[in-house]
């Protein structure tokens, strides 16, 4: 959408479970910038019980800071206890938008016929709409029917998305699923006064059957099939319905949201219209897709929180978007589950000193029960970052498994594909073609040294070839995602200039060779005039200075059998982008990346790499 006239001032808020964050975006000297930010505790619980109180507090802070910044006491964003939207240039703001994840976000259950086909498509639709998927129930998921019924009954989702069958196909299995849901008679999570919303987006021939089974018991909404043919996915209509219902049902149950829904307004096509409140993760997905589209790049984003880790990706020429939520991989509430998932050994392989098992286990559990504490000792920081690497690694594994091409689709294969034995349902995640890796969440955005963030992202995601690294400075991606609904330009400009902090880039040859062989021959003309030139052996890390906005001319030749993007052993001449950390040359190998099992060999290597990364003070790495 083209922007008609620049919006002078925009306020965006994100109402999280604990904190409501507000930002002010202004049009200054021909560009959009984020100028002031504020925050206040979210007020959805007793005694205040009204989300708008927290919003007003967070916006009041913006107002006060803006007055200070511009030394102008007449600045006013709030009028009559509401956000002041005015079409006049010098008063109030032009638009107010908001996202929300308060009250545990949007929790959904999805059903399909074949788990790996329609089930997966339904899951993708729900995740893309910003939901947490509590369970996927499919006709072929091997659980006996009585177990499925019990499961549906136990869960109290905010809504159910039912898919199944291609249009015009057999209706029997879809009908059976409808019967199971009806038998379970599920109740909504919030409030017992309304019927549970169920969206049916399956075989169009089965609509009447589903109406008969569920029309009375639930609030049934029928929309287009999200998998009309095996070769096509059509997630848009189902996602839109999820968003509508999120507003009408889930949000309407949360205290104060009816009021908030009447506040969110902005100009669209010259008219002042309501801009729906978006679930926070849906908004993050929105900005990722916008950036990928505007710059024609592949993007991978991660948000690691206390309870969950979200991963967003936009890959391939068609800009295929995927989002996954690893519901129990996080660094405070769920930290103990990272230990349960990864195991102690996997965590300890990132720790460059000795620690006894019992002490580590108790430390992790104590963090779980007192999630707001922060590591005061250096050793505890190193441990938390080691745990973060494993949490990110496992969340990424889950993402790669989920972000796949459509399964069950028939396609013509070229001869080269036949030789490479590619099949339908392969992961679309390709680290070699990835352009930008963005990290956010406390452990990445607020690490004491940015070098630690870069190291954690490189160690966990193992980027291949040449990849740019960045972190979200204050996690304003949600607000920018919903802002993109009214102004793509404002959203992308602020994303580039104020949201992202570029760390630099990582160059990593793919493959494995012997340690004494050269893995990368690099000649890099650094911005300070120096020329870095080295035949870097396998198993090394180098960090070169190259600041934000600077670039370095590089000639990079991978060792025999290794690839940095142009093919095995093929040289690349390119410009490397800098950042607050610099240029990382990583020859530790990919596919596989291995760490020695014995501590006596592993610890010296870790220390060497951490020193190169300048990740921690020297004394802990002696």
């Amino acid at each position: 959408m083209a922007d008609a006239r620049p919006l002078k001032r925009i306020i965006a808020t994100d109402c999280g479970s604990t904190t409501t964050k507000s930002i002010l975006i202004e049009y200054i000297d021909g560009e959009y910038r984020q100028t002031v930010r504020g925050e206040a505790p979210t007020t959805v619980e007793k005694p205040l019980n009204d989300v708008t109180k927290g919003v007003i507090n967070a916006v009041t802070e913006l107002e006060e800071l803006a007055r200070l910044k511009y030394k102008d006491d007449s600045i006013k964003f709030i009028k009559d206890d509401t956000i002041w939207i005015s079409e006049k240039e010098n008063e109030g703001v032009d638009a107010y938008v908001s996202t929300s994840s308060a009250g545990g976000g949007l929790q959904m259950m999805v059903t399909g016929v074949v788990a790996k086909m329609t089930g997966e498509s339904a899951e993708r639709a729900a995740l893309g709409a910003g939901a947490i998927v509590m369970d996927l129930i499919a006709s072929n998921d091997k659980r006996p029917n009585y177990e499925k019924i019990e499961r549906i009954r136990q869960m109290r989702p905010d809504m159910i998305l039912m898919a199944g069958g291609v249009d015009g196909g057999t209706t029997k299995h879809v009908a059976e699923m409808g019967e199971l849901v009806a038998a379970a008679d599920p109740r909504p999570r919030l409030g017992s006064s309304y019927k549970l919303p169920v969206i049916y987006a399956g075989n169009n021939k089965a609509r009447d059957i589903i109406k008969d089974a569920l029309g009375e018991k639930t609030d049934l909404i029928i929309t287009d099939n999200l998998r009309p043919t095996l070769e096509n996915e059509n997630l848009g209509p189902a996602r839109d319905k999820i968003h509508d219902l999120f507003m009408e049902h889930v949000m309407a149950q949360a205290p104060g949201y009816n009021k908030l829904m009447s506040w969110v307004k902005g100009p669209k096509d010259g008219k002042l219209v309501t801009i729906p409140i978006m679930p926070t993760p849906a908004a993050v997905g929105n900005i990722m897709q916008t950036i990928a589209k505007v710059h024609d790049i592949e993007v991978l984003g991660v948000d690691i929180g206390g309870a969950t880790t979200d991963i967003f990706s936009v890959f391939t020429k068609n800009k295929v978007f995927n989002r996954t939520v690893s519901a129990n991989l996080g660094l405070s509430y769920s930290i103990s589950n990272v230990l349960a998932t990864a195991g102690l050994e996997e965590i300890l392989r990132w720790v460059p000193f000795d620690i006894d098992e019992s002490g580590l286990r108790n430390m992790i559990k104590n963090k779980m029960i007192r999630p707001t504490t922060i590591p005061q000792q250096l050793e505890e920081l190193v441990l938390e970052q080691a745990i973060a690497k494993e949490a990110l690694k496992y969340a990424f594994i889950q993402h790669k498994e989920f972000a796949v091409g459509l399964k069950g689709a028939q396609r013509q294969r070229e001869i080269s594909e036949a030789f490479s034995q590619s099949t339908s349902g392969e992961s679309v995640v390709n680290m070699m073609t990835l352009d930008l890796l963005v990290g956010s969440g406390g452990v990445l955005s607020h690490a004491p040294r940015r070098n630690q963030s870069a190291m954690m992202m490189v160690d966990a995601f193992l980027p291949e070839g040449i990849t740019r690294l960045a972190v979200d400075s204050i996690f304003m991606m949600p607000q920018l995602g919903v802002l993109a609904e009214i102004s793509e330009k404002a959203a992308t400009e602020v994303f580039e200039k104020d949201c992202l902090i570029y760390l630099g880039c990582c160059v990593a040859p793919v493959g494995k060779i012997k340690p004494d062989k050269t893995a990368l021959t690099a000649k890099i003309e650094l911005p300070n005039g120096e020329v870095f030139q080295e035949d870097i052996k396998f198993g090394e890390v180098r960090l070169l200075p190259c600041g934000v906005g600077e670039t370095a001319k590089a000639t990079l030749k991978p060792g025999r059998g290794l690839d940095i993007g142009a093919g095995k052993g093929q040289e690349i001449k390119t410009e490397l982008q800098g950042g607050v950390v610099g240029i990382v040359l990583d020859t530790r190998g990919r596919r596989p990346f291995t760490l020695p099992l014995e501590a006596s060999k592993r610890v010296p290597l870790l220390k060497k790499w951490m020193k190169e990364f300048k990740a921690y003070p020297e004394e802990i790495l002696k």
Binding site: I149, A175, E179, N337, S358, N366, R370, I374, E380
Partner: protein
Amino acid sequence: MAQAYSPGLTVTDNIVLKKERILPLKGTVLVKKADKVKAEDLVAETLLPGKVVPFNLSNKLGVTPPMHMQYVKVKAGDKIKKGDLLAQTNGFLGLFKSTVKSPIVGEIENISKITGQMLLREPKIPIQVKAFIAGVVVEVIPEEGVIIENKSAYIQGIFGIGGETFGEIKMLVDSPGQPLDVKMIDDSCKDKIIVCGAMVTYAVIKKAQEVGVAGIITGGIDDRDLNKLLGYNIGVAITGHEEVGLTIVVTEGFGEIGMAKKTYGLLKQFDGHKASIHGITQIRAGVMRPEIIIPIKFKEEELTESETRMSTLEIGTTIRVIRQPNFGVIGKVTGLPEQLTKVESETLVRILEAELENGEKVIIPRANVEVIED
């Protein structure tokens, strides 16, 4: 700003407590407003819909849907007993009939023409809600439950396992720092809530299970022992549903940590009194912590809730350190500098200055302390 909010766990000898006792589904409330109830009294009950038993009728009859419908002998809503005839084919010349009988007592939920599936439903399951705390019914929420109020000595734990239980408090140690020896547990501990000091081991828990202890209150527990007890690692702190035969309330944390003196003192003061405890912990939005509730005598006019006070950090406030170094140590705030300060891990945080019990002067991130009400 010379003060800041810092959450702490409540430990008090006197609090007006309100407890909602609500059914999971609508049902019947069994008490009236102003009724006096004991902890074990039933206050509300309901019937949960019975389990659904699905099976494919057309397969069992050996016909394809919707042919099976002509052989069905029952209809949705019919009450059935085990062995009742549900469907029967005509067979050949009256012979070789396929017969399907009910495997359960209950009723017919649904018979599908399209899939050939039959759903039976078992009888409803009664669910009962007890008062859990002795007190007065101050509000009846029709068809849903009640609110009970009382005056209690009250302690919030940091973590627990196991559901609601009651019993007399029995002190087993002489000081808050003393770990419990397995020999201290004997038959006199049956149905009691036993109080340990700094640590409860796997062996102690096992012995407590054997003699039928109702609950254990402890300063610390080792994660490995907990793991061994449950047979799995607790991944996410949502507990209370464990079925290990007793309830455990941990007041301080994981590892050997002496129970806070105030907590220990309070439990000692009420040695022999009846208490209600639970281990339900949920550390997410809508935090829930385990509770130890010891009802005390009160007059009804005393039941006015005092305003919830935000515990604040000020110079002179007593605090407890809740993370290494000095985990568990008590101190007094001596300074609250405004500016962000770099601590050993190089993290820039708001800190406080404190003097610990041993006289040592330290700086601590404000996030790593909790306020102890004097």
